[in-house]
């Protein structure tokens, strides 16, 4: 199995007539994702590679039973598009856009909560359930199906890490990019809880950073009695304090934000902490071994 995404998700593409939208139809559709509709106001009635385009999300969902939305509109428009998709009935909305005002994300998350939906992102590579479906632009060759659930705060790092797993024949149930922003549609804690309930996920690999409170949530999960084994790589050991490292949330502001504090807390909670990227596969194997 997998979490959140497989071939049964019926995907609506918000902004389907843009470059990203068109590439997504080809790339993710080719991967196996069930893309059923697109929205592009003013272009309803046309199609993109055979996928029908609608004026709005409500019409699209009614006509195609779409239940999942991929948002590819410019950052200032993401809030409106995501909330439109949520209110039209999409239960999963993935927003990859970075450069999103935090307030907009807060409002999307609140709208999702009020409607029983889930947001993944923003500032995220998206989510892939290898061999089944992907929502985002992950390089497909880096992934293969298998028992490892992967959670990542960073896009490229999730590709890099997944490729290392795949080369070592460790497949993944789902790889979810939770994003680098301070407010996340899906937090590490929420992603851990989903993997916990997924019977095929035997162990979890968490890819974290300095700054923020996600790692504390990972530690809290790992220290529970029936937790699945967790391996973790935390990057930013060499980041200076007080500087924002690209991601809005990646900054050592207080002591708890630092690489040392985070890795110490994780190790204490029973997480297999990777020394660095080179150590990743070894700890992933240890986690799977612990699950056996």
């Amino acid at each position: 199995m997998s979490i959140l995404l497989d071939q049964s998700n019926r995907v609506l593409v918000m902004g389907i007539t843009g470059n990203y939208g068109k590439f997504f139809v080809t790339d993710s559709g080719g991967y196996g994702t069930t893309v059923v509709a697109g929205v592009s106001p003013g272009r309803g009635g046309t199609d993109v590679d055979g996928i029908p385009v609608f004026e709005g999300a409500r019409a699209a969902c009614q006509a195609t039973q779409a239940d999942t939305a991929m948002v590819f509109v410019p950052p200032p428009l993401v809030r409106a598009a995501a909330i439109e998709a949520i209110e039209a009935g999409c239960r999963l909305v993935v927003a990859t856009a970075d450069e999103m005002p935090v307030r907009d994300t807060i409002e999307i998350r609140a709208a999702a909560k009020a409607n029983g939906a889930r947001l993944v992102g923003p500032n995220s590579p998206g989510i892939i359930s290898p061999g089944k479906a992907k929502m985002g632009f992950m390089p497909s060759f880096c992934f293969m199906p298998g028992p490892m659930g992967v959670i990542s705060r960073s896009g490229s790092l999730s590709y890099e890490s997944s490729k290392r797993l795949t080369q070592a024949h460790i497949g993944q149930t789902t790889v979810i990019g939770i994003g680098g922003d301070p407010i996340k549609g899906t937090t590490a804690a929420e992603a851990m809880a989903l993997f916990h309930l997924d019977p095929e996920t035997r162990a979890i690999l968490y890819l974290g950073e300095i700054g923020g409170a996600e790692e504390a949530a990972v530690a809290a999960y790992a220290s529970q009695p029936h937790a699945k084994p967790v391996a973790a790589l935390i990057v930013g050991k060499t980041a200076p304090p007080g500087k924002k490292m690209g991601h809005a949330a990646a900054m050592v502001g207080s002591k708890a934000d630092s690489h040392a504090a985070k890795t110490r807390l994780l190790a204490k909670s029973g997480v297999l902490v990777c020394k660095d990227l080179t150590d990743l596969v070894a700890q992933a194997k240890n986690a799977l071994a612990a699950a056996a």
């Binding site: 990203y20 950052p75 200032p76 990859t96 999103m100 005002p101 935090v102 307030r103 807060i106 409002e107 998350r109 609140a110 590579p125 985002g136 632009f137 992950m138 390089p139 880096c142 705060r153 960073s154 896009g155 490229s156 790092l157 999730s158 590709y159 890099e160 490729k163 680098g180 301070p182 407010i183 996340k184 937090t187 890819l207 950073e209 300095i210 923020g212 409170a213 996600e214 949530a217 790589l233 990057v235 930013g236 050991k237 060499t238 980041a239 200076p240 007080g242 500087k243 924002k244 490292m245 690209g246 991601h247 809005a248 949330a249 990646a250 207080s254 020394k275 660095d276 990227l277 080179t278």
Partner: protein, 373 residues
């Protein structure tokens, strides 16, 4: 990005928060007429710990003002010298408090923090009381009151704090502030509250709907040197470090992962440089190479990009063109991977570059080159 104290106070005043009636000093030779001493003379810098570094002086007369201003203009706090000073009346107060609004993942939005003891040592004391809100519209007087009842005994003060906190939360949302911190918030003799100091951090990404943020971004660029300015204009995220191996990468996590690996392998990273915006165009990388080539402390440049939506054939072409434009002889080590990476070797061959099969190998070569430079 953070704005200066006097800018933060102007914003607070505009939304109905009481602040001292201060005056600005832009040069040590042009001092304002102060009607009443003593005053608090305050260096306007973004760096933390200003108070402990002597950045706030109590000044009792015009002579002391002259000396104090000269001293502050000549002091460096962290890595910045003040360009402006704030002269606030030195106000007597009854209590120092701490109140802030910030973004918090576990609160799913805004959170209010309150400590009944404010001032410079707030961080070393008991952690402040937390009132998690979510979206600004979810602020509830009764919710914050319940939090305050546990830490603040003065019930009249509690009601004033509730009113002020709601205004701060509304302001954070309306003006796209990720943090509004008042420390100290003081209680005057008549019981009223006043912000003696203020720190506001804007949301960089809300520039298109907030001219204050846009203006701050322009000012930040104007302060940067020409190379950094070009890089910032391209949207690059750059943090200078003290090593000699520069890094051009994409994605914050990947960039930090590469920095860490350089260090672990015995090298010294010279910067964090995330070039994700405009990641496939020649133009996108040009300011990065120009800046790093011009920096004498840098011996090697390591380009490490692992792309999904970023197509490696286009990155490889962008590298080819950038290499042709460069005058610097600094060695460049490449490691590209991801979508269409299979097309990279053919492009690299045309200008004699080598693509490393993995990060370890690229880092190893970069360290070797840095040692031999």
């Amino acid at each position: 990005m953070m704005i200066l104290e006097h800018e933060a106070k102007a914003l607070l005043r505009s939304v109905g928060v009481a602040v001292p009636q201060g005056s600005l000093i832009k040069s040590p030779t042009r001092l304002p007429k102060i009607k009443s001493y003593p005053i608090a003379l305050k260096a306007q810098v973004r760096s933390g710990g200003r108070g402990k570094l002597g950045g706030v002086i109590r000044v009792n007369n015009a002579t002391a003002l002259k000396a104090g201003a000269r001293k502050l203009f000549n002091t460096t706090f962290g890595d910045e010298k003040p360009e402006v000073l704030l002269a606030d009346p030195w106000l007597p107060f009854e209590r120092e408090l701490y109140l802030s609004v910030t973004i918090d993942g576990t609160a799913e939005g805004y959170v209010v923090l309150y400590s009944p003891k404010g001032g410079v040592d707030v961080e070393s004391g008991t952690p402040p009381a937390r009132y998690p809100i979510g979206p600004a519209s979810q602020f509830r007087a009764q919710g914050f009151r319940a939090v305050l009842e546990k830490v603040e005994k003065d019930f009249q003060l509690r009601e004033k704090l509730i009113f002020l906190a709601q205004r701060l939360v509304e302001t954070a949302a309306a003006r796209d502030c990720n943090t509004i911190e008042i420390n100290p918030l003081v209680q005057l003799k008549d019981g009223s509250l006043m912000a003696l100091d203020a720190k506001i951090v804007y949301d960089d990404w809300a520039h298109y709907r907030n001219s204050d943020i846009l203006d701050q971004q322009k000012a930040e660029r104007a302060r940067a040197d020409k190379y950094l300015r070009a890089s910032l204009e391209m949207g690059h995220m750059y943090v200078k470090l003290d090593g000699d191996i520069a890094l051009i990468s994409g994605g914050a996590g990947m960039t930090m992962g590469a920095m860490d690996m350089i260090k672990a392998a015995g090298g010294k990273p010279a910067c964090f440089l995330d070039a994700s915006p405009g990641p496939t165009s020649t133009r996108g990388y040009k300011p990065a190479f120009q800046m790093l080539d011009a920096d004498p402390s840098i011996k090697v440049i390591l380009v490490s990009v692992f792309g999904g939506g970023t197509h490696m054939n286009r990155v490889a072409s962008a590298m080819k063109e950038n290499m042709a434009m460069r005058k610097s002889k600094k060695p460049v080590v490449f490691r590209l991977d991801g979508t269409y990476v299979d097309q990279v070797p053919a492009i690299f061959e045309t200008f004699g570059a080598k693509n490393h099969p993995n990060l370890e190998s690229a880092v190893k070569e970069a360290i070797k080159l840095a040692r031999s430079a």
